[in-house]
Symmetry: C2
């Protein structure tokens, strides 16, 4: 991969990277289109497919995470991807994931929300993204807005470490009922799929509350209302809902237009996340 | 710097980087010659000069570290260096060193010795080296063997994060009496300069002990002898002396030919380090 990337660079071709964990859906393919556009004429698009063990905590879904390399490769081919980079664990972590010795850690934006609920998660993400940047040598990398905190953290990490990479963030793709597309939606069987729409309902309700109010709305009051809404879905359990500054990710006590919200909800055993600008 | 580096890459020129904190001496210039050789015909050599605040602890010598950019630039010119990269703090740490949010940490090789005596030191080193790699985009980077643990840690970090950089280590240069060349030698006034030779005497004594013995020598016994030797220099105070495996840096209880030793000694207020293969 690195040699191929160096050759492309030597030819003056811009390289766009879409880092994924596979289980590709229409959301991923929208990132591919964005990468193609940003790489420009004569540019190359690489999709990396790697279920990175170091970003999963104990008891999380690493083992059962959807893996379908053949199907993913076919979808990439149809989307005009130039290279699918799908390394093995032993290529990415020569001493095994448990024996990894060097980490990239971002200590500000990654503290709350996903960072608080999933200790070590962002350390794994920052490290594997740094590795992928060094292996694929992209000019631009495209991340999905569904993982808002991840995208913010990756942008900060990229700038802090001076990676010569532009980080682009493409909008969340949604199912017709509003559910954000996610590889983990495959876990949702039977009625759970229907109940999963509660995340989108929370976003819509928070947006409506803020837009219908002449002045800022107390975040605590909004959270209570959303907890009530989630309580109506029998299989749903709130992990967190947060209202915060979209740039600093610092929680705000009052929500208004322009405030960012994010939430994580277990639906059955499946943990889903979503976010939106109010 | 990054644009210049990208242009060089586009032209197919190999780039050699010598990262320094300035105060350039003959040891640094030997690294430049090595970088020139490794960059090859048509290659470019960059010397970075940056006294990196994040690798100094509180109470260390950051403020008084020798700074002589004009003299260093002259020495680089005479040595045929293509670019001296001497960034300001605000360029390297946009939010200030105290506001830095992303770190590169190596957690195995950097635990003992310098890592134990100087908490946070190697985090600062690993981070600034990663930043320099991304800014200068070198094919090869040359480090000095005098900082043995640093060189080992940088090699590991480079491989772990898949930086497309070859790390070379060039031998320690010594003064006629054996003192390892170091920018910090400038601190040694009057009789302290003479006493500083005790580090080299320790290395010679340990080497002799191991080479004259038919079997391995207990590390504890060797340490005691070296403590005695250091005790004879009135201004010298041992920080640590360690015998270890040169690849893993794991301490050994018995020293033999091929064992690596390293030591840190305060001479007056100046902390000096040295190391050697026995």
């Amino acid at each position: 991969m690195q040699r191929q990337a160096a050759r492309w660079r030597g030819q003056g071709a811009r390289v766009g990277l879409v880092p994924t964990m596979g289980g590709l859906h229409a959301g991923h393919l929208s990132l591919v289109r964005r990468a193609r556009k940003l790489a420009g004429a004569g540019g190359k698009v690489v999709v990396s497919i790697y279920v990175n063990p170091t970003q999963f905590g104990p008891g999380e879904d690493f083992a059962r995470y959807p893996r379908d390399l053949a199907g993913d490769a076919r979808r990439c081919r149809q989307a005009g991807v130039d290279v699918v980079f799908a390394p093995e664990d032993r290529e990415m972590y020569a001493r095994g994931a448990a024996g990894a010795s060097t980490w990239v850690v971002e200590e500000t934006l990654s503290r709350g929300m996903e960072g608080a609920s999933r200790p070590g998660h962002f350390r794994g993400v920052a490290t594997v993204v740094a590795k992928l940047f060094n292996l694929v040598l992209p000019d631009v990398a495209v991340f999905g807005a569904k993982d808002y905190q991840q995208a913010a953290m990756v942008k900060r990490m990229t700038r802090d470490l001076n990676f010569p990479v532009k980080v682009a963030v493409a909008p969340t793709c949604r199912e017709p009922d509003g559910l954000a597309m996610s590889s983990r939606n495959k876990y949702l069987e039977g009625d759970l799929r229907r109940q999963a729409v509660v995340l989108w309902q929370c976003i819509r309700q928070a947006r409506a509350a803020v837009r219908q109010s002449a002045r800022p709305v107390a975040a605590a009051q909004l959270k209570d209302r959303l907890k009530g809404l989630i309580g109506q879905a029998p299989a749903a359990r709130l992990d967190y809902v947060e209202f915060f500054d979209p740039a600093t990710l610092a929680p705000v006590s009052e929500a208004a237009r322009g405030t960012q919200m994010a939430l994580a909800v277990f639906v059955g055993k499946t943990r889903l996340i979503d976010n939106a600008r109010l």
